[in-house]
Symmetry: D2
Subunit: 434 residues, 4 copies
């Protein structure tokens, strides 16, 4: 009961402080705020930062309630537009429909630390969204504005290397999401002359990486991740390389989720590398298949329509073969077992990997995010690689498989179009496999 | 008739090339365009640049016709939102109402030269708008996006001096709108240590000034423009100055008309100067009154409500006095006559100048743009100066009068609020005068 | 007599102020000076700057008298070194022989403005040297230290263009010694994409150009200067150019006379241009022959040994022909006469030009400085061009002739070696001509 | 014997390769070398780098033998100068005496990597010097040239922080000589806002730190090192600090030994900090006494003349007291014993520390290098601190004592002068102690 009292007091304090922010927001939107928006935006930011964690959701709820368009006035203008179709009525309609909080967010963005604050608010909003679907419209406003502000036209491609400022480099260590960087020595290896690390910077957040991609310049499309991650064998002649491998791509700003950055980053990096290294003929990835093992365990029937003729039977055969080879399909096979496996077993695993990828966008709510990203960007599936990732995580998530997606620049638009229309492009070898 | 034929042919060619741009725009908005928007945006830009001058308006008309929201679907969503008031319906409503051309413009902005192209399109659109009011909604979309992108949060304040790159300095010479800069020697004088020139740059247009303001650091609020413009008497101890004078502010981008830049520039410059020169106690202007002489000639009755008690009578008296002194009120007085004028005549001219400024926002369609700008920013009228501008233009436009507006930082919000509510703030002396 | 009195007083004041600088110099060289050399060096500089123009020479005389090595101690050490040949005795010998003023100059160089002050002292010293040969040892110390400090290893090659800071560009206008730049518009033309302007900067004088060379990228070796200087026909495809023409090279620091800069500049620019424009096959100049006309007028006999067989007779014939064609050999021919001249006359002038260049280093005290510079750098004479410079100065100094020197990179060392050994290299055509 | 054969072969190879470098040096000094010194200098560098470790000394010997002045010609010029005392004879004398290898080194410096190569040669030369005193004249030439080139007038003071490039920061970790930096986290703490790290960079070696000093901004002169080194309690208000502590200074270039850098660095940093933090009133160090413990163990008699009256007796008393307290004077006392020591014992140790420092410059071949450095720079001894350094090294080298030297800017010249004259300045408290 004492606890309850404490909580009640806290909630009262939270409500009071959300009222304070609300008043600051109103002031920012008032005539006084118009005259001196930077100053009043700074006050909103300061008071928002003083909120307790619990009060954050309440703050966003306040944005939803207080700064939404007026349905009645919207309806009137919609009628007028439908009747007159005039430019004037369209302008007024748009002004009525655009939620006033978009202007509020624009003004907050104007103050020092404003851009970072908006990203922080959105990070929390995204976290709360599942439990508070009524905040979806606020979230849509954030997404709308951020997509416009962080449009690639405003981003600066930068190449990060060992001459870059330490405060940028430590973000690489911190945010590397795919193949962890242990320490500064490890980082240094990834910035050797046979490597490139590209990032997008935005002028309004010059101290913060938005996203980065790590590239290895090698002779042939790689079939295992270890040689790319290990510290040894630096190739001192990157200018002779034929193949650029995007072996890791990581987002640094959770507040920018859903704002398209990776797609543009990869394409711009391809252009940049082509200019610097004219001998490059292939741009590919060596990518994880993070959902493969769990998909395998679930054993859901595959949709025959999405696969080449006869694939369904072959997939089922493969499943049986794996069951025989590794026992309980719910268990991840041991490294030793995978190493000892005979050719038919290996092929069965690769076949299932291929099937898994080819139907990625039709597996509801469980499609592979890496596959969706690259295929949606217009890449195609080029090759599956057995035991390409021997790390614990690699075995657990994908039974050691990795996949090369290829960015074939002249084919990118067609691949993307096909993917949107439901057809995944893959190399003939992959299709035959499945 | 031959001329007619030629024109007809030209129009046919124009229509064809607008169709080409339209197709490029459609492609940019398609799935293929989504996959590779930078490339297709570059095609739109290239084809737009190939249009003849006559075809530009037609291009914007196409934007108005093809990329507007669908009234019927808008109406349905407006009904749904009015009924449910749900977040989901609001999101869909906004998506229906936002004209698809906003997305089109965002994609064009993404390509190299995209930002400059959009400014060019808008410059032409603004020119055509009077004759084509049906383009107002397209113009509103431009204004909406540009205001968001060129928000002060994204602008970089830069101080331009004699160490700045020549290609930036030549823009100062070119765009100086108030007191022309004759040549590089003249420019150099304006960049001496007792002067400052501040500008806003935007990262997407790093080679182009957006706006700039010229500041003189002096001991006392100036009462004449010549000493500020002349090349002599450079004060080598700006750190002792008490007064910063904004004596010229010029926009460089006609495509950004209506996007608020000057207001933020002046306030940010005040903050910057206060930090660099802690002894500064006054921030003021020495401004022209471009519409004064023509207002004087028209002799419209003044609205007594807007002025101090008894002002109407004093204004009329002053008019008579001037008429006596200078003869025909439709003529601009000669410099010699102004110089020879006795004190009562001088006071009469200053009184009329004060009245002219105090009622600026109520003179329909003829309010003084400089006064509106500074008063709207929250400045107040501090002093009128007789024969402060002896140049031909100064005599013709304002009978030689100039005005000091003062930016009193703590009072700015109140002044702005009063101005919006209809009350112009002025120094006691000015009010007494009127 | 009154004048005499005034002068005497001035001289007394001068002597007093030179004593003040001398004391400051002594302090700088003392233990206190060692502890805080920057501060005491600043005092020397300040007091030097307070000297009158007349006192400058006296200041240098003081350096010669007070800060020279002690002959007796030098002689002792020289004996010891001759006897022992030991490392220790050599070290001590060097310490005795190096004039103490070298250390003084090193310490002055250490203060802010120190480097600029040393250049200024030397500029004045060079001017006074003819009348004061006793200052030659001081001058040698300056030359020795400056050559070491302004060694090309410390210089930074910079490319100046329209994006460069105005304060650097104005130095180009100011110092262009060969083909005057009228104004900023003229400068701008010389910085168009088909041109390059390279300069050496030294980190200790970052605001000052040391030397610069202007380069035109053209298709063929030019035979006239006007098209290179004129504002028209900018070639927008410099990447297709085959020939880089050094058409103007100017020193900016008289205080660095005799310190080799131009030689390194030209060679480094050749390397830089070869990398940027791989299609370039020829590096040449289009140079004036500033002493040709006066040499022609003097009519000194040519030294037959220095010229190809039979040249003497051909030179005399040519002289006669010119005399006939243009009359009085002491007059510069008119432009019209040169234009009207027939082929034999033209060839006679070119022949004499060739002879003039080929014997340049044997004409005592009157050798051509431009020829000495390029030939000493290892260039060869490639072609003489008739009426290549139609300006008044061009006609007066060289009867309109100009010469192309070619920098043939693989042959440079041989050419230089031959030149030092007395043999000027020239294209076969030039030799045949003479 | 087989080993002997192998060695003989190696020596033959070494001699051959030294001959190759010698020929490259001769070429560089020849006319061809003059024409294209950068190219031939690069060849010298390449061939020097190909030498085996053993051949390095032989290379320097070659420099000593081949590129020294001619004793006979020197003697003749010395006579001539002694007789005539003319400027001309002095110039020629200097030219004869300056070893030709100085010009050789200047030319090597001119090539890419030249500066770094010279530093490397000197590093090795300094190592070999003890066994090869005949190389002293070559070493003197290196020292002479490097002192001139790395004069503070050419150095750039830079402030290194967490925004600095990683390749510079890793040099801090690598070269920190006083208080080791364990890793990047440790480094980061030393670059927090209450710290400063200043370094000298030279434009010819822009990638390499020459020397750096770490500064802590604190409220009072510190009496222990641990709080400065530990990661905790960052003071976020450095602008309020009264005291700047130079707690670590490290040279990064062994090839620059004997070239005065630290003295200038400290003084320039004092000036810089005074400007940034006007509230600073004290600049001091917290320094180790690296030779104290071994001096204590040796127990040499102290020179009474160098110490205050009666000091000798007090020093001997103190020695006895310590012997009683800690036993065997040849052993370093344990941390526990030092912690447990009573006041008289503590005072005895401090007294001996004071005596050790006061006579530092008269202890032949064993003076304390840190004391010599700071006292020679003009600092004074301010306070000795008991158990200020509890690290193993601190206990072993100085029984835990540390000393504060104070840089009292107005007194610096006097202190330096006194120090050179034999008098060490110390605070009254220190003198009383001894």
């Amino acid at each position: 009961m004492f606890e309850g009292l404490k909580k009640a007091r806290q909630r009262a304090r939270d409500r009071a402080s959300v009222r304070t922010v609300r008043n600051a927001c109103r002031m920012l939107m008032s005539e006084r705020g118009t005259a001196n928006s930077v100053k009043f935006a700074a006050q909103v930011i300061e008071q928002y930062e003083a909120l307790s964690g619990e009060a954050h959701a309440e703050f966003v709820t306040m944005l939803a309630e207080e700064f939404s368009p007026d349905p009645q006035r919207v309806l009137e203008q919609a009628h007028r537009y439908a009747e007159t179709r005039s430019a004037e009525s369209l302008v007024e309609l748009f002004n009525e429909v655009e939620p006033p909080r978009q202007e509020l967010l624009r003004r907050i963005n104007r103050a020092p630390r404003g851009a970072a604050t908006l990203l922080r608010i959105r990070t929390e909003l995204l976290r709360d969204l599942k439990q508070h679907p009524e905040l979806a419209a606020v979230e849509a406003d954030f997404h709308h504005l951020l997509s416009s502000w962080y449009d690639p036209g405003f981003l600066k491609l930068a190449c990060v290397d060992w001459h870059s400022p330490a405060h940028l480099l430590e973000q690489i260590i911190h945010h590397e999401a795919v193949h962890a960087i242990r320490d500064w020595g490890d980082l240094r290896r990834r910035l050797q002359p046979d490597r490139r690390c590209f990032t997008f910077l935005h002028p309004i957040l010059p101290e913060d990486l938005l996203i980065f991609v790590e590239v290895a310049l090698v002779n042939a499309m790689p079939d295992a991740i270890a040689p790319l991650i290990d510290g040894d064998n630096v190739d001192l002649h990157p200018e002779r390389a034929r193949c650029a491998v995007f072996y890791s791509i990581s987002n640094c700003q959770p507040g920018l989720r859903g704002v398209s950055l990776g797609n543009f980053l990869i394409k711009q990096v391809c252009e940049t590398l082509k200019t610097e290294f004219p001998r490059l003929t292939r741009f590919c990835t060596l990518s994880p298949m993070p959902g493969f093992a769990s998909w395998l365990r679930r054993g859901s029937p595959v949709d025959a329509k999405r696969l080449p003729k006869g694939a369904e039977a072959r997939v089922n055969q493969a499943r049986n073969l794996l069951h025989e080879a590794f026992g309980d399909p719910l268990q991840v096979p041991e490294l030793a077992a995978l190493e000892a496996a005979e050719k038919p077993v290996r092929e069965a695993l690769l076949r299932l990997g291929g099937a898994y990828l080819l139907i990625t966008q039709y597996r509801e709510a469980e499609s592979d995010p890496v596959a969706s990203f690259h295929l949606g960007n217009g890449a195609r599936i080029e090759r599956l690689n057995y035991l390409a990732n021997r790390s614990t995580r690699g075995l657990r998530e994908s039974c050691g498989l990795m996949v090369n997606y290829v960015y074939d620049l002249p084919a990118i638009e067609r691949c993307h179009e096909n993917f949107v229309a439901g057809k995944v492009e893959a190399a003939r070898e992959v299709l035959r496999l499945v």
